[in-house]
Symmetry: C2
Subunit: 208 residues, 2 copies
DNA sequence: CCATGTGAACAAATTCACAGCA
DNA sequence: TGCTGTGAATTTGTTCACATGG
């Protein structure tokens, strides 16, 4: 039942985790694995692994399990990881810089191609090999670098306005780190990472 | 129906968002709000807001809505935000430093009290007013600072071992930024923030 | 009268359990 | 035989719609 229709975000996130696990197993020299063994090793659910994988076609071999190499290739291409995705980091405060450095090694799939900031003191500098431009140049930068994804690491006040600018500039996806709900056209997929919310969730479990 | 039983993580995260929205409304000088208006302003669902709130008791006034001030207080105490939570940041690479700075202002609820790193070059330094200790001192640091939460910003290889150390040292919750599934006693609530997974989710939507 | 609080309907996600195939 | 792929059962989450009560 190969399909390209709607995949649940939960399933999608798990596929990333499976992929990471499979890469780890490949590093260890393993060739094949069953859903059960994968589940045991990485604390996942075997049935769910099978369901998640089966929605895209029959990747496994009955009675045997999954061929690690070929499953990785299939997942890579399924998730769109078989080509480079260029990223701009908007807001070069300490978090923007940290994320830029974090992805620096990552040459293959996700590559940071530029930083943007409104602080003239930062514009013109470089973070490693990544140049920092003025945020007013967002249009030109997106066009000239071919950036698809913006990582937003701005104060919450300016996040929405900058999203609007990014949308106009033709950015195709946004990963937001500002602690606000941003609103963009549904054609631009957006994910938020909200450290405050995570901390508050943990705090709940610490009520005396 | 006041209760302290299991609250779903989804509901819990929404409560944080409601709280943030309510604080914003209070800043704007508003005194009362209905679930519908809150939903409209912040792109939430009115019915869900009511369900999420009602599971802890009757906070609203029928025919009127919710008193913003008192709802904030109730949620604060419900989520355990009415007292200080001390945090240690384990791994003072650029992400650890960025998170430390990010929470620096935040004096009330979440306070970073120390950083830990294995790099002797970093030990003894300060990030703002936060001292950096050697990771081998985790036991003493947790005890002396009374830290409850650890934010893990380490390379994936060392994350699990450090979690074990943290657990032994008596840490009570972990927010993990390393791209691995960590495994700790279920009595220690753990959340992971996985930038790689989020980027891969976005990449999926960009498949040409 | 109007918005909450809630049971009942609906939808989504996960687990179960087994038929079917290598 | 042993593991995948998958319907059916179950659990979990959300929306609906209305009785309730300030």
């Amino acid at each position: 039942m190969p399909s390209t229709s709607a995949v649940s975000p939960l399933s999608l996130n798990r596929l990333s985790l499976y992929l990471r696990s499979l890469r780890e197993l490949r590093r260890q020299g393993l060739k094949r694995i069953s859903s059960q063994e994968l589940a045991d090793r990485f604390h996942l659910s075997a049935a769910l692994i099978r369901k998640d994988l089966a929605q895209f076609g029959e990747f496994g071999i009955r009675g045997i399990g999954y061929e690690i190499d070929s499953l990785i290739s299939r997942l890579d291409s399924l998730l769109g990881l078989d080509r480079e995705h260029r990223i701009i980091v908007v807001g070069m405060g300490s978090l923007g810089v940290a994320l830029t450095r974090y992805l620096e090694g990552n040459r293959g799939t996700f590559r940071v191609v530029a930083g943007l900031d409104e602080d003239k003191g930062k514009v013109g500098k470089q973070i490693g090999r990544i140049p920092v431009h003025d945020v007013s140049e967002v249009d030109r930068v997106v066009r000239e670098t071919g950036a698809e994804i913006a990582m937003l690491t701005l104060p919450p006040e300016s996040a929405q306005a900058t999203c609007d600018d990014l949308a106009r500039a033709g950015i195709r996806a946004i990963l937001n780190f500002a602690p606000v709900q941003i609103q963009v056209a549904p054609s631009i997929p957006t994910k938020s990472v909200d450290v405050q919310v995570h901390l508050e969730e943990l705090a709940f479990f610490l009520r005396a």
